[in-house]
């Protein structure tokens, strides 16, 4: 690895000032970044360790405010958090799938988002759940961006120099709603998603029809994709098998898969259909089951 500098600021102000320097990169869990720098896949001259900043370590739920998820909170805290498990199970699904136990100790959802891998396991669930990214700028302002607009390409985000993801905000869940995230990998662990699917849906009060649904796909485009038509097709429907089939077909139509060493484009498109239906069934079961 080439020579680098390291700094561990304690405040956001210091952090944004450091991140404004040339070649500066934010370091949270480091599970992607350290490898990328080591293997010459990302350039860095200064690593700004964000783990000592209190605001980035916040994880709290409030029935009115929703979920505030600090950018540096490690996965294990999120996946084990009772409110996440109960109210945002799709996020819990996705976060729990990021790496093995060792990675869970370090990797953060903020880092997963900023790394901007098309296959990131937390992002489709965040998108489905309507999450927004709260960004600190060097001038001290805060920007709010829907997560589906955060990634701009493989490894690229909207963050500019000195800008920093502070936390993610998830709105309080609607009544009679739930969510799920599934991914397909050839092994059972320690793998990158060939396809990932996040869904969130809400039913009407007597649970006979869908009020709204959001579906997002991973690893089938340059960024994780929100597929609004697929979700919209479920609104007002009873979510019978034919409805799920229709949503799956729409999602497949909107997917933009490529062929690479993790799977062919055809196989990926096929998996989108399978996983959309499975994820919807799980979310539906979760609503009905409690």
């Amino acid at each position: 690895m080439k020579e680098i500098d390291y700094a561990a600021p304690a405040t956001l102000t210091e952090a944004t000032a450091l991140l404004a320097r040339k070649g500066a990169r934010a370091l949270a869990g480091g599970t992607d970044l350290i490898v990328q720098v080591r293997e010459n896949r990302r350039d860095a001259e200064l690593l700004v360790d964000l783990k000592n900043i209190a605001e980035l370590n916040t994880l709290r739920f409030d029935a009115k405010e929703g979920l505030v998820l600090g950018a540096a909170v490690p996965c294990y805290r999120i996946a084990e958090h009772p409110d996440v498990r109960k109210r945002y199970p799709g996020l819990g699904d996705g976060v729990a799938l990021i790496g093995g136990v060792q990675i869970q100790s370090r990797a953060s959802v903020g880092g997963n988002l900023c790394n901007a891998s098309p296959a990131a396991d937390s992002i489709p669930a965040l998108i489905a759940l309507g999450a927004s990214a709260v960004i600190a700028t060097p001038s001290g302002t805060r920007d709010l961006i829907p997560v589906e607009k955060f990634c701009t390409g493989p490894g690229r985000t909207i963050l500019g120099p000195g800008e920093l993801l502070v936390h993610l905000h998830l709105p309080p869940p609607a009544p009679n709603s739930s969510s799920a995230y599934l991914r397909f990998i050839p092994r059972k662990e320690m793998d990158i998603a060939v396809v990932g699917v996040g869904v969130a849906l809400a039913l009407n009060d007597n649970r006979t029809a869908c009020v709204f649904a959001r579906i997002a796909l991973g690893a089938v485009g340059p960024t994780p994709l929100l597929v609004p038509e697929a979700g919209a097709a479920l609104a007002g429907r009873p979510l019978a098998e034919a409805d799920l089939e229709r949503a799956a077909e729409l999602a497949q139509a909107q997917a933009l898969p490529i062929s690479d060493m993790r799977g062919s484009a055809d196989y990926r498109r096929h998996l989108v259909g399978v996983l959309v239906k499975r994820a919807l069934r799980i979310a539906l079961q979760r609503v009905k089951g409690g």
Partner: protein
């Protein structure tokens, strides 16, 4: 069918391994753990292209970087000329070996070493690599065996002329060698057949996947002697290879084998050792080089990808009458794939009167292949054992009954000539047939429930299952397959000194990859009638123990164990002589039984081994037993495996539910480590079968050179691996030992393919049977 174990006191027990505490506390020293004052760190510059001419190399900028002490290229190795040398692991073309350590004028695969740097830190050495300017002239490349065989394919070597049936053909091509084995008359044989099946198969390049990357530390001393600390399966072959590549006498080199973190055949050829020595010579300081994981994948020797065509025929009674095979193996950049063993093993499990086998060793622009656990046999068995399964299906014969009926026995002649002595092929099939696994119902295709819909680690959702008709529910299948591996003997040395406290210090020459110190020590203990724990085994370096061939070929417990047994006999003779001296009798009047010396003429005169040990110093000095052996009597190994799978018919993903490996192990010296060899071999076979492969892009670059994307099985991907040890004693060994390490990797891919067929009704003809490939087959069928 288990041979009698009575009479053994040590053999067949499960003592704790002697090196165990060091290995569970982190104290054991592996090659990369070598530290010494003034150590420099070396790094290798590797070719970014798969095929090309090296036009120029300028290292001046790298050498200007403070802390960089030397750069070496092929010019720093001796020019090997065009010689073939016997280096303890078969004949080696020195030009190829040398070019594989540091390229000579041309690169033949992406990742081939081109130059090396030594610097005061590994990071600095890496930075220096970027400052070496290399000019390549790219050439067209070929990475697939069948494409490489075509006329007009890019030729890797200007001087490679195809040798066919031992004679040069004069034709320049990528086909290095054509071999052939014939027995009987296949054309006539197939005429007798009621059922004939002919299929084609492809298998991908796979890697041994040892967890410890290659490493070497060398010190070229001021007196011209060289010491090398490294991770190797054979210190003596490293010594021989380095001597040739550096052009110095063997006696100037000492190779110290450190603890080794896995090898499976891949740590026999040298990669780093001569380079580290050359850097040490230039700097006068010790130099350590370690590979990273990508280097290991891209620049060490995997096992070949292959194309295999198999045709087999059986008569209406299910008797095999003829078999025909064509095998083409990718040698990688230089000739020398394990084609021969593959061709010899492909039908070795069966007694077939008419056989014709052709084989082709083909160079391609991939790393030069190396041995990998039963090299060549797994590819071959995937093909033949799948065809056998299809024959059984057509004949409506139970596949294990078919193997019992047609299995090779004592007296069966293999197509390549040898006649089997007492072997256990049929016994493995009989045992598998009676095993509770084979007789258990496969179980219903599950209609699983969502166990906890609120929150669980849902993964891909396949485990959830839904009560919906059609293909949505995972389907189960059971498959069986058998396998053969020769095992080998070769040369081993051991010496053992009796200590005054009645223990014995054993020095043997086989690097210990899987607990072999203990299985060797147990044979010495058995021969002396002392406890396993009273033998203190150590692996010697090339200056402290006699010549010993590599840890490979499933030979160590057999041959080095035999050397330990012989060293024990030597100690016994000397102990008898010493007791005779003490008692004033002739040696013939002393008996040695169960670790006790007894005077035949005076029953009161008895000395235990320990008691006599205490008297050695006063009666002429210590006793050292020694032996160097090259034993005949190698016993071949057979295995029959049974596997249950569940396949997700919507994704093609295969889950192994239950696995039972039955193997003729001869005599299990330490049953736990025999089971361990079987379990490890099975799981490597499962990985090979389901997900492992070298994936190349159009540019001839491997795109998955990491543990993340190479996808070896994790603990979560597997069930327990049940083992059944059938003991058909090898009459050629004092304790009945057969090699056990290799054959367990042979059956799994075919067993899994046969199980997938039962689950889905599709025949897989390509490895790995990854989810995408299984799904494609399934969709094609629908």
């Amino acid at each position: 069918m288990t041979t009698s174990t009575t009479g053994y006191k040590v053999i067949g027990t499960r003592p704790l391994r002697h090196d165990g505490v060091d290995k569970v506390t982190g104290r054991a020293l592996y090659g990369a753990d070598v530290q010494m004052a003034g150590l420099l760190h070396g790094r290798i510059l590797r070719s970014p292209i798969p095929h090309g001419l090296l036009r120029s190399l300028d290292a001046s900028k790298a050498l200007e970087l403070p802390g960089v002490e030397a750069v070496v290229t092929c010019a720093d190795l001796t020019d090997p000329g065009d010689r073939i040398a016997e280096l303890g692991e078969g004949a080696v073309n020195l030009k190829h070996l040398s070019s594989n350590c540091l390229a000579r004028g041309k690169v033949h695969y992406k990742g081939q070493a081109v130059a090396a740097v030594a610097a005061v830190s590994a990071h600095l050495a890496e930075e220096a690599l970027k400052l070496i300017a290399v000019e390549y002239e790219g050439l067209p490349h070929v990475t697939d065996v069948r494409a490489a065989m075509q006329d007009g394919a890019p030729l890797l070597h200007d001087d490679l002329v195809t040798e066919s049936l031992g004679k040069p053909t004069g034709k320049r091509s990528n086909i290095a060698k054509h071999i052939q084995f014939k027995k009987g008359d296949v054309a006539q044989g197939f005429q007798q057949a009621a059922v004939v099946i002919e299929r084609e198969f492809h298998t991908a390049t796979v890697h041994q996947g040892y967890i410890e990357p290659h490493n070497a530390t060398a010190l070229w001393n001021a007196d011209g002697t060289v010491t090398i600390w490294c991770s190797t399966q054979g210190a003596f072959t490293v010594r021989a290879q380095v001597a040739e590549l550096l052009g110095i006498p063997l006696s100037r080199i000492k190779v110290v084998p450190m603890e080794i973190g896995g090898g499976f055949g891949g740590k026999i050829r040298v990669y780093l050792e001569p380079v580290a020595a050359a850097l040490s010579k230039k700097t006068g300081k010790p130099v350590k080089i370690t590979m990273n994981r990508a280097d290991v994948f891209e620049a060490t020797g995997p096992t070949p990808g292959s194309y295999i065509k198999v045709k087999m025929g059986a008569d209406k009674d299910g008797k095999l009458v003829a078999a025909r095979a064509t095998l083409a193996y990718e040698a990688g950049a230089f000739p020398g794939s394990p084609l021969g063993p593959g061709a010899m093993c492909i039908f070795a499990c069966y007694d077939i009167p008419n056989v014709h086998i052709d084989g082709y060793d083909v160079v391609v622009n991939k790393p030069a292949t190396s041995a990998y656990r039963a090299p060549g046999a797994t590819n071959a068995a995937f093909a033949s054992e799948t065809v056998v399964d299809e024959l059984c299906e057509h004949l409506k014969i139970d596949p294990l009954d078919f193997r019992i009926q047609n299995g090779a026995r004592e007296g069966t002649r293999r197509a390549d000539g040898p006649v089997f002595p007492r072997i256990g092929m049929v016994e493995t099939a009989q045992t598998a047939k009676q095993h509770a696994h084979y007789t258990a119902p496969l179980g219903p295709n599950p209609k699983a429930q969502i166990s906890n819909p609120k929150f669980e680690k849902a993964g891909d959702g396949a485990n959830l299952g839904f009560e919906i008709s059609g293909l949505r529910v995972p389907r189960r299948g059971r498959g069986v397959a058998s396998g053969f591996w020769f095992n080998c003997g070769l040369k081993s040395s051991a010496s053992a000194s009796v200590n005054a406290d009645g223990t014995v210090s054993l020095v043997e020459g086989s690097t210990d990859i899987g607990g072999s110190r203990t299985s060797i020590a147990m044979q010495l203990a058995e021969s002396l009638g002392i406890r396993a724990d009273d033998v203190r085994p150590a692996v010697g370096d090339t200056d402290t123990v006699g010549y010993t061939d590599v840890t490979g070929g499933s030979r160590v417990t057999f041959a080095t164990g035999w050397a330990a047994y012989e060293a024990g006999q030597d100690i016994k003779r000397q102990m008898i002589a010493r007791a005779a001296l003490l008692w004033g009798v002739q040696p013939e009047a002393v008996a040695y039984e169960d670790g006790t010396l007894r005077c035949l003429s005076d029953d009161k005169k008895r000395l235990t081994f320990k008691e006599l040990s205490e008297k050695l110093h006063a009666t002429g000095g210590t006793i050292v037993g020694r032996a160097s052996v090259d034993p005949p009597g190698v016993g071949g190994g057979f295995a029959t495996h049974v596997v249950d799978v569940e396949v997700d018919p919507e994704t093609g993903k295969v889950t192994v539910l239950r696995y039972t490996a039955v193997q003729d192990v001869g005599k299990a010296i330490h049953p736990s480590y025999v089971e361990g060899q079987m379990q490890g071999g099975v799981v490597q076979g499962i990985g090979w079968a389901l997900n492992e492969e070298y994936i190349y892009n159009e540019q001839g670059v491997m795109t998955n050179a990491s543990f993340l994307d190479y996808r070896m099985p994790t603990a979560l991907d597997l069930p327990m691996i049940d083992t059944v040890l059938v003991e058909v004693a090898n009459p050629g060994h004092p304790y009945g030992v057969r090699g056990v390490g290799e054959v367990p990797i042979v059956p799994p891919p075919a067993a899994l393919a046969n199980a997938i067929y039962q689950a889905l009704g599709v025949r897989m003809d390509e490895l790995p049977m990854s989810p995408g490939r299984v799904m494609a087959k399934l969709l094609a069928k629908q």
